[in-house]
């Protein structure tokens, strides 16, 4: 039973983080809170992808150890696959982190424009003003 919990609890924590972000995006009325929820959602997905590449049992970070130049010179070096972590999820998530900060920046710019026009950031007040003035 403990073995099963140890091998699965990380995924449950990722699911909980994703649900916290989803709840903030759907249930909260403040627009900054919605953006914070979007950030939490994105980082939960990124954490899940990075955890796919983890290998237990003696695997280290994906950087070649020792005589890298000598191995390159001779062409064929013996590289043990089981001693390095899978690098592909890391690469994809590097791109995802930078794109997520770009989307956050554009969203904050739109939020400042909304505040300049409506003088509030609460979604229900914005919808009320829109209904009254018809804009």
């Amino acid at each position: 039973m403990l073995e099963y919990i140890i091998s699965k609890y990380n995924f449950w924590v990722y699911v909980i983080l994703l649900l916290i972000g989803l709840y903030a995006m759907v249930g909260k009325k403040n627009l900054v809170k919605k953006l914070i929820g979007m950030n939490i959602f994105q980082s939960a997905v990124i954490l899940f992808y990075v955890s796919i590449g983890v290998k237990k049992g003696g695997a280290t970070v994906p950087i070649f150890l020792g005589n890298a130049h000598a191995a390159h010179g001779h062409g064929h070096a013996i590289i043990d696959v089981a001693s390095y972590i899978n690098p592909l999820p890391h690469v994809l998530m590097l791109t995802a982190i930078v794109v997520s900060i770009a989307t956050t920046g554009v969203a904050l710019a739109v939020l400042i424009l909304i505040f300049r026009r409506y003088k509030t950031l609460e979604l229900d007040e914005i919808m009320k003003i829109r209904k009254e003035t018809g804009v």
Binding site: I6, Y9, N10, V13, I16, L17, I20, G21, Y23, A24, K28, K29, N30, V32, K33, L35, I36, G37, N39, I40, S43, I46, L47, V50, S51, G53, V54, A59, T60, V61, P62, I63, I85, P89, H90, M93, L94, I97, V98, S100, I101, T104, G105, L108, L111, I112, F115, T120, L121, E122
Partner: protein
């Protein structure tokens, strides 16, 4: 990674996430989001993803927090929920 340490970090991260979406002061929520990103960075280092860890620390915890603080300073600091 030692699984007890991993579990404690995961609990800290969940507490930070819950605090960031429940606090009514938006500046405090944004700073807690930065702390959340740094905890996430420790977790990445424990998983062996060092490149992702320092990208997260510089981009998401640094630039992201600066952008959020700038936006909150241009708008209102109080939130209703």
């Amino acid at each position: 990674m030692i699984w007890q340490l991993d579990l404690i970090l995961c609990i800290f991260i969940v507490i930070c996430a819950v605090a960031a979406i429940t606090i009514k002061d938006l500046l405090a929520a944004v700073i807690i989001l930065g702390a959340y990103s740094f905890f996430m960075c420790i977790l990445y280092t424990g998983m062996g993803a060092v490149d992702v860890a320092f990208t997260e620390a510089s981009v998401s915890a640094g630039v992201g927090t600066v952008l959020f603080v700038a936006a909150v300073s241009k708008t209102k600091r109080r939130s209703k929920d």
